[in-house]
């Protein structure tokens, strides 16, 4: 209960470490020390020789899958975002349904529907010459993650564009600038500053979410990890995967902070 009293106004004076802080920090010291001891004690050079390179290849599969689906999603998100902002109902309703469908259901269920479900229409897909695409787990993953990400990115884009005050449009109009130039030169640069962090978060979510593709037999970082564990029953395979994922996400987070500081430097005092 001492915690509850400590929550009062963010105090200006620095407090001495309390018991709770010492216990919590001590917990982490114990966890990291035993983890280091565990990894040192179970050090196995055979395991590294066998799975070191596959892990890096798996990481490459994860990164390439995420980057390509992110880019495809970004392209797809543009018409959807404009559909959401459009005046006409015929544009608004379908884009709303698209976004609602992909954000309201789990990615893993969507991937299963595409990978296992589309196989039922093999004859039809064959006849339109798309079976080669939906036969491959990698392409199915790309297809689903791109559509899923398009829904999220459309909302990011819409939110960012709508966050730019109306006065920016009106000011541009009063100077006689055409709508397309106002959009690309005045509104979009301001919207992108707002959108930078959400986009980076979406990228991080995709890296984490893409671990699901291991279930449909894509050998990404998580897929390789599962394979290594299934063959060796050595738990450190999962610990190394965790370290790799944490490093990648942390690098992305640092890059985002750097990029954000850079694009907002005209607003800092």
């Amino acid at each position: 209960m001492t915690d509850l009293t400590a929550s009062a106004p963010p105090s200006t004076e620095k407090k001495k470490p309390g018991l709770a802080g010492i216990l919590f920090a001590g917990f982490w010291v114990v966890v990291f020390a035993s983890l280091a001891y565990y990894l040192a004690a179970s050090w196995n050079s055979d395991l590294f020789a066998r799975y070191g390179l596959p892990y890096l290849e798996g990481l490459w599969v994860t990164v390439s899958l995420v980057v390509s689906s992110f880019v495809c999603g970004a392209i797809l998100s543009v018409p959807i975002a404009f559909g959401r902002m459009a005046e006409s109902r015929t544009a608004r309703v379908p884009s709303f349904l698209f976004v609602y469908f992909f954000r309201g259901t789990p990615l893993i269920a969507q991937i299963f529907l595409v990978y296992y479900g589309f196989g039922e229409f093999r004859g039809f897909l064959d006849s339109i010459g798309l079976w080669w695409f939906f036969r491959e787990a990698w392409f199915c993953a790309l297809f689903t993650i791109a559509l899923n990400s398009a829904a999220y990115q459309a909302e990011i884009l819409r939110g960012a564009i709508e966050s730019v005050p109306k006065g920016q449009w009106e000011g541009g109009r009063s100077l006689g600038i055409s709508r397309s130039v106002i959009f690309s030169r005045i509104v979009l640069p301001q919207a992108m500053i707002v959108a930078l962090r959400p986009y980076a978060n979406e990228l991080i979510l995709l890296i984490k979410g893409s671990a699901i593709v291991a279930i449909i037999t894509v050998y990404d970082l998580f897929g390789i990890t599962r394979q290594a564990y299934a063959r060796t029953f050595d738990f450190q395979t999962y610990v190394w995967a965790a370290v790799l994922y944490l490093v990648v996400v942390e690098i992305l987070r640092r890059l985002t902070n750097f990029a954000e500081a850079r694009v907002t430097r005209h607003m800092q005092r």
């Binding site: 209960m1 400590a6 106004p9 963010p10 998580f222 965790a242």
Partner: protein
């Protein structure tokens, strides 16, 4: 017509199995929520406390559980804790105990939920002006009662949109626990799809059921939002 017999209840259909899956999905999410909220709130207090050790420790927690893929967290809990328990029972000669997939799912999703929730709570704490604490102090209200009667009600109102987002994410993340064998919506549909060879029908049904769950959630959240704002002037 064939689809109807597949989805029907009773011996020949999979309706009752999938309905049970809906119950499992719902109860996993509902059981995880209070743990995640409580731990997330304590973490937010730790980040707010001004105690450096608490601040750093809480941030290590969030960095780890926001950075790891949810699926990997789940596997780490499921295999890691079960390995530990097994070596423990081997060493002591006690009977084997193992975490079920439901409990592992609760722990893993609770870890992830609390890491995100703590950030939502911290943002909400920052949105409450200092004057609220000072006013309560001037009235002679103790710090625990200030928390309970003055800060917490405002905190809930400010944090609600963020927390309802997290609830939606939690609801969808329960589908991941099917990978370690929890018989939730997705798992049951997968079994049905394999037996009947109708994957599109069953995974489509699963997706529609998740949509229904998120729809019900958003209606319920709307009600809670109204309720939390009942003290505000209606305009």
């Amino acid at each position: 017509m064939e689809a109807l017999t597949h989805l029907g209840f009773g011996e020949t259909g999979w309706g009752d199995d999938i309905a049970h899956g809906v119950f499992v999905t719902g109860s996993l999410a509902v059981c995880t929520l209070p743990i995640g909220l409580a731990v997330g709130f304590l973490l937010a207090l730790a980040k707010q406390s001004g105690d450096r050790l608490l601040f750093i420790s809480a941030n290590i927690y969030t960095t780890i559980f926001r950075g790891l893929p949810e699926l990997l967290t789940l596997f780490l809990v499921y295999f890691g804790v079960n390995n530990l328990l097994k070596s423990f029972s081997d060493a002591t000669g006690l009977p084997d105990i193992a975490l079920s997939s439901f409990v592992s799912g609760m722990i893993a999703l609770g870890l992830v939920f609390s890491a995100y929730a703590s950030e939502v709570f911290v943002a909400a704490f920052r949105a409450i002006p200092r004057g609220q604490y000072e006013g309560a102090n001037a009235l002679g209200i103790g710090s625990f009662m200030t928390m309970r009667l003055v800060i917490f009600p405002q905190l809930v109102r400010i944090a609600l949109p963020g927390l309802s987002n997290l609830w939606m994410i939690l609801l969808k993340d329960t589908a991941l626990v099917s990978v370690i064998g929890l018989t939730d919506i997705l798992r049951q549909s997968q079994i049905a799809a394999r037996v009947t060879r109708e994957p599109f029908l069953f995974f489509g049904t699963a997706i529609l059921l998740y949509l229904v769950l998120t729809l019900i959630s958003s209606i319920a959240i709307g009600r809670i939002d109204q309720w939390s704002k009942r003290g505000e002037v209606s305009r």
